[in-house]
């Protein structure tokens, strides 16, 4: 088994290669089926590894394969090795499992797209890169996957690049991620200089034996936090994720909700031995997480685009994951990552189903009463909603509750903010569900009534990226008052049903009732160590009840406003929320103003001083060359003289050197 780990990433890679060559010939839907099969095969391979690991003792639950020596330069050597331990196998399971479902869904969603096969080429490449990221046994290999998923994300966000807004959204994601990558790279260098290896097992060993301590550990942790914040869309680097919704909806579900964005959290959990030594860096991570969660939740409250609500919700939930990591509650982080992958992918796919059903309209204010027309989509979406709102016994309740309990033990303020976020989450998700699936069929009403509802509509049009989301598909919205929504085909609804079942029952992975029901905790213990929550049983029950109450309050409040029509939505959907606290605008202002001046100054220095030196050297070389070129006349006698002169020079040396 150990020798066959490479098969896991190899299958989607083979699918990628196959589709690169034959994709266009296979076309629609053949290419999609090939891609789905490849990811499904990879999933089966992961399951086989999982079964193998389950068979082992807790201590020896690890497979390690060195495929080949990748880089060997002096003391620096990196192997191309794959590491399958409980953590990476957990990741792989839901990456390939959810990935396969989303591939299946995309066959229906992308039907008729002129670049159908190319889409699946990118998706398979993405899965390959993601598996490299997860399975890599060292930081450099993870970085390879990290950049790979980044590149695929860029390709897929700007998949419909005919619209310049989509292209610029892709660019924004790419550039923002570069800032995070900087942290990753410097962190890697620092690890290398500190312990002379970038292998995870060595890092873990070094951290346990006290070779990474104090300031170094803090610095490493913070640098990797910057990297993770870029990829996992945390403050202040979260701005790219909402814009990334310009991509096709399966991409939003797969990359920007379930898998890629969690890789930052995965990296931090992977480096937990270092974090263990990094005293106050943990607090930074936790605070970044909780503030991101709260801010994103407030923004989500005033979004009208069905995918944007989910995007900000994703940012908010990722904030929870950071909070969990910062409070050293790694099991909870992974637990919530898994459940979140299920219900958020479910809701994204559901929203995609709605968007297709509603002739590519994304504005929730034009929906309503869709449960009548799209029962499966509505039913599954509602399961996702209840899961994220934290209603027991849905999976989101168990995982979120664990994070909040961990926060309570660590810092009461964090707990309170997390709870507030939970309330807001329940509220904005309920708002979305009520606007979309309940109420009146608003697209049948005259257009004018809808458009002047929200405040700040004019400014919303100002940023290019904002526009991106509103025409998800190249043909944009054709919603007319006499439109009749229809349920999506089975390839789209089947993944919804499967994911909704998972979202319903995933809580059983780690039920807090007794040690025997905490399966995930025992499973991950070899990697993240054991963790005492520091909260007693009775306290836990109280906390859970408070959290459930908060969720119910949020739902009830939303029901009051959006179902019963009491209270003004405008009072809640504030302009600063709609504009994402103006963070995007602030960046634009800085880059256009002081930042631009600074960069121009740098550029001037580069042009005149650096280039001047370089050009000077180049001119010198050129002049020397021209001079020497004159010696090369092409005449035989001159060449002969040259050779003779060289020989004479050698003989002169001989005479000088000679000892008679």
């Amino acid at each position: 088994m150990e020798k066959l780990l490479w098969i896991i990433p190899a299958i989607p890679f083979a699918g990628f290669l196959f589709l690169v060559v034959f994709g266009r010939r296979l076309g629609d839907p053949g290419a999609g089926w090939i891609a789905t099969t490849a990811v499904g095969g990879s999933f089966l391979a992961v399951v086989a590894v999982f079964v193998e690991l389950m068979g082992n003792d807790a201590e020896s639950r690890m497979l390690h394969q060195s495929v080949f020596d990748w880089i060997a330069a002096g003391r620096f050597s990196v192997g191309f090795g794959l590491l399958a331990d409980p953590l990476s196998v957990t990741m792989c399971l839901f990456v390939t499992g959810v990935g396969a479902l989303i591939h299946l869904y995309a066959i229906g969603y992308m039907k008729g797209d002129p670049r159908f096969s190319k889409f699946f080429v990118y998706l398979n490449l993405f899965i390959t890169a993601m598996l490299m990221l997860v399975l890599g046994d060292n930081l450099l290999l993870t970085f390879l996957g990290w950049e790979g998923v980044g590149a695929c994300s860029y390709f897929l966000i700007s998949f419909w690049h005919e619209d310049p807004a989509n292209a610029s959204a892709g660019k924004k994601a790419f550039v923002t991620n570069r800032i995070g990558d900087w942290g990753f790279m410097i962190g890697t260098f620092l690890v290398w200089t500190t312990i002379g290896s970038i292998n995870y097992l060595d890092i873990s060993e070094a951290a346990h034996s006290g070779r990474i301590v104090g300031g170094t550990a803090v610095a490493i942790a913070l640098l990797f936090m910057v990297g993770a914040a870029g990829k996992s869309a945390q403050l202040p680097l979260f701005v790219w994720l909402p814009d990334a919704m310009a991509g096709p909806t399966p991409v939003s579900a797969l990359i920007h909700a379930a898998t890629m964005v969690t890789s930052g959290v995965y990296l931090l959990v992977r480096l937990n031995p270092v974090l263990h030594e990094a005293s106050w860096a943990n607090d930074v991570i936790a605070w970044v997480g909780v503030i991101t969660a709260l801010v994103a939740a407030t923004i989500a409250v005033s979004q009208n685009d069905i995918k944007k609500v989910l995007a900000y919700s994703t940012v908010s939930q990722l904030g929870y994951l950071f909070l969990a990591v910062g409070t050293r509650n790694y099991v909870a982080a992974i637990f919530h990552m898994v459940t979140h992958a299920f219900f958020k992918a479910l809701m994204f796919l559901g929203s995609g189903s709605v968007i297709v059903g509603m002739a590519h309209e994304q504005d929730m204010r034009k929906f309503g009463n869709l449960r009548k027309y799209m029962p499966i989509t509505a039913g599954t979406f509602i399961i996702g909603w209840l899961a994220i709102a934290g209603v027991p016994p849905f999976s989101g309740f168990w995982s979120k509750d664990e994070i909040l309990a961990g926060a309570w033990a660590e810092n009461k303020v964090m707990w309170a903010l997390g709870l507030l976020t939970a309330l807001l989450t329940a509220f904005y998700m309920s708002r979305q569900v009520f606007l979309t699936f309940f109420g009146t069929e608003k697209w049948r009403e005259p257009v004018t009534a809808v458009h002047h509802e929200a405040s700040g509509e004019g400014v919303e049009e100002s940023t290019a990226a904002e526009n991106a989301h509103s025409n998800d598909h190249d043909h944009g919205s054709h919603l007319t008052p006499d439109h009749t929504p229809r349920e999506s085909p089975w390839v789209m609804t089947l993944p919804l049903v499967v994911l909704s079942l998972l979202a319903l029952v995933a809580g059983v992975l780690n039920l807090p009732f007794s040690s025997g029901t905490k399966h995930l905790e025992h499973w991950l213990e070899p990697v993240v160590g054991s963790h005492e929550l520091g909260v007693e049983g009775s306290q836990l029950v109280v906390l859970a009840v408070v959290a459930v109450l908060c969720g119910l309050i949020g739902i009830g409040f939303a029901a009051m406003v959006y179902l019963r029509g009491k209270g003004s939505p405008a009072a809640i959907e504030r302009a600063e929320f709609a504009h994402g606290w103006y963070i995007d605008e602030a960046y634009s202002w800085f880059m256009g103003g002081p930042g631009r001046k600074f960069f121009e100054a740098v550029s001037w220095f580069d042009r005149t001083v650096i280039d001047g030196v370089v050009n000077g050297v180049a001119a010198g070389v050129s002049a020397t060359g021209s001079g020497l070129r004159l010696a090369q006349t092409g005449r035989v006698r001159n060449s002969a003289i040259g050779i003779a002169a060289g020989t004479v020079a050698v003989l002169v040396y001989v005479v000088v050197r000679m000892s008679v």
Partner: protein, 158 residues
């Protein structure tokens, strides 16, 4: 080094003699050149065309074949004197050599080195005839073919 002294002296003397001759003729001649004196002439008549310097290439070919056999003789003659003593080693060596020479000879003969009949038409290159003929293109300038006048470097100037 003493034994080499006469050679050194001879060298110096030879150089001196050459220098003195050159300088003396320069000093002694009247030095009044004119066009008639500088012109090349033959039997008192200024020549109209450059003297022919080319021989048919076949003379060279025959001469070269002769040289090859010459060398073979040079090898074979001493070999016959000691072939018993050299034994199989010598025999193999000479056969090797003879085979190489003979194969080459076969090639040269097959390619017409010894044909003295009328000249065969030289195969014309198809590149020369172009549809757009002008008075300059129809006259073939011997030796200009393939020579790029403005090739980047001065390399082919000679």
């Amino acid at each position: 080094m003493g034994q080499y002294l006469p050679i050194l002296a001879l060298g110096i003397l030879a150089t001196l003699f050459a220098l003195i001759s050159l300088i003396a003729s320069r000093l002694l001649n009247p030095g009044r050149p004119n066009d008639a004196k500088n012109a090349p002439y033959e039997c008192g008549i200024v020549d109209q065309v450059a003297p022919p310097e080319r021989f048919p290439v076949r003379f060279y070919l025959v001469a070269m074949i002769f040289i090859v056999f010459d060398i073979e003789i040079i090898f074979l003659y001493p070999f016959t004197a000691v072939y018993r003593e050299l034994g199989s080693f010598g025999l193999v060596s000479v056969i090797e050599f003879a085979v190489a020479v003979f194969a080459s000879f076969l090639y040269v003969v097959a390619n017409g080195a010894l044909d003295w009949g009328p000249l065969k038409q030289v195969r014309r290159s198809g590149m020369m005839v172009t549809p757009s003929r002008t008075s300059t293109s129809t006259i073939r300038r011997v030796g200009q073919e393939g020579r790029e006048v403005h090739v980047g470097d001065e390399g082919v100037a000679a």
